[in-house]
Assembly symmetry: C2
Homo-oligomer: 313 residues x 2
């Protein structure tokens, strides 16, 4: 396939990141290229939080959980005086974090379990329709990165299958991923809680249980890629140390000798979005990956330098 | 899409099973049909053992395990005198089964774990290239059902995505599913053992560990369908009581009101294949499903009556 005459990535400024991405896509898709990859092996994986949409000040799913705690309070008056709910209701993130991973898990399960999969989908859909980002006042589904949308579309046009591989909840993301990114439910991989099948008055349901099934982060990402896709991606896009292992799995020591591309979105633009990397944050710390990028040949996409637009519209 | 003039299912005899299948496909694919389903929601799921290929006298993967035990014996001389390996080596299935589920799991782990995912793929590929079915002397990949191949192809042509949802090992099936069935790795769902990611001399590997990750049978099948596909299938093909729950999930009480199809392959042909249903077998018992089929509207495909050919060629 020849490169179209019009720029497929108009929101990317000319520079080494854009060049590296377009050059890779050309090399693996042109028939006469020594790096040519057949269509069915053109698999690209994308982290979600901080790579496809904004994860600051805290990831979107944490806002969802916070709003659910408020909505469910009438049924759980005891939460007013019990941790971690008391801190959560007061908007005291430090107080919640002081409860450790157990506190976070308690909030996650109280808000994500105890209903059927169909009921959960409706709850998430209704929430996304009205919830607004605290800084911009925009719906969360508008806090997505225009340059990454263009990249997804360019890859689709060049015969790639694109998958989301995120630490976020799989059933949370599937509610919007197809409409917002063009990524269908079967191509969304994420963290999950256990579900079980039961017949309820002659109708089959899947009930969501308060138990972790899989945490799709760090070394779990290549494990999930292998389990769900069963092919090794040739392109991987992330933004944090949680994406290091799937970048390694994509780009290093491939027995098939395929060309590959690894990209890290670097959040350098405090004005148009948020600036963060090495400091500890709830989600999105980029420290080791920043040190390793040059040696491993990973491309840094510098939000301030490389993107002339951040959000759509 | 209009039905092609040539018969898409030539190995199926005219009769109620063939009629029900072709009628369903017509109803969900014709633009002007009240049961029309958009392409991206046309998901069909297939069991593998006994539905797409022969599972008798024992499932193919059990032969693989038996051959691996023999191949690995020089490294494990202690197996000659330890159960369940001693019985396994003697071909004494009852002796193995006498060790219970623990014995079966020991053989499974000894033969399926302890290597990387790449190494396991090579082992399975090499074995499939030479192993032969004990009754017919044919390669196992030729012991597939021609009528089901035609059905897979017809569904592909009519815009369906087809997935395998099997109790068999996912990484075992992925080795041949694309070549043999036209079902790509990312559409193969099965049982799995745990893997972990590690860097080995600068090269990333996924190592297969001796621990069950997920058993994809019975009530696990709708759970896996939801986890991996995230859409409810509109067509489901099975052959045993292990497929009941995914048939229920596909065909009963759908909140979306979609038309659906459930089919059970009934093994009635002891001459051309094997005749079995209600009796207890290692894999493939069809007892409850046989009682429920009529009430739930599931189609029974009677191998002897409905198929004029069983195997290809």
């Amino acid at each position: 396939m020849a490169q179209p005459a019009i720029d497929p990535l108009p929101s990317w400024n000319d520079g080494p990141a854009k060049d590296a991405i377009l050059d890779f896509v050309r090399r693996v898709t042109m028939d006469d290229s020594s790096d040519f990859v057949p269509v069915h092996e053109r698999v690209a994986v994308f982290d979600n939080d901080g790579t496809l949409w904004c994860e600051m000040p805290v990831p979107v799913q944490a806002y969802f959980a916070a709003d659910r705690i408020k909505a469910l309070l009438p049924e759980h008056p005891e939460w007013r005086i019990t941790e971690p709910f008391k801190s959560q209701l007061a908007g005291d993130v430090k107080g919640v974090m002081a409860q450790g991973i157990k506190g976070v898990a308690e909030i996650a399960m109280a808000t994500h379990a105890g209903m059927t999969t169909d009921e959960f989908e409706t709850i998430v859909r209704d929430w996304l329709a009205t919830a607004k980002h605290p800084k911009t006042g925009k719906p969360y589904t508008k806090m997505i990165y225009q340059p990454m949308l263009e990249l997804l579309q360019h890859l689709h046009q060049q015969g790639f299958s694109t998958f989301i591989v995120s630490g976020g909840g799989v059933e949370f993301m599937r509610v919007f991923a197809e409409d917002v990114y063009g990524v269908p439910p079967e191509n969304v991989i994420g963290s999950s809680i256990k579900t079980h099948f039961e017949m309820r008055d002659g109708t089959p349901v899947l009930q969501r249980d308060a138990a972790l099934d899989f945490f799709d982060d760090k070394a779990g990402k290549p494990v999930a890629i292998n389990k769900f896709i069963g092919r090794r991606p040739i392109a991987c896009f992330g933004n944090s140390d949680g994406d290091r292992e799937m970048l390694m799995w994509t780009t290093l020591g491939r027995p098939d000798g395929r060309a590959s591309l690894g990209v890290l979105v670097h959040h350098t633009d405090g004005e148009r979005e948020f600036a963060y990397d090495r400091q500890r944050v709830l989600s999105g710390q980029l420290d080791q990956g920043l040190d390793e990028a040059e040696g491993y040949g990973w491309v840094l996409a510098d939000m301030k330098q490389d993107w002339n637009r951040v959000f759509p519209g």
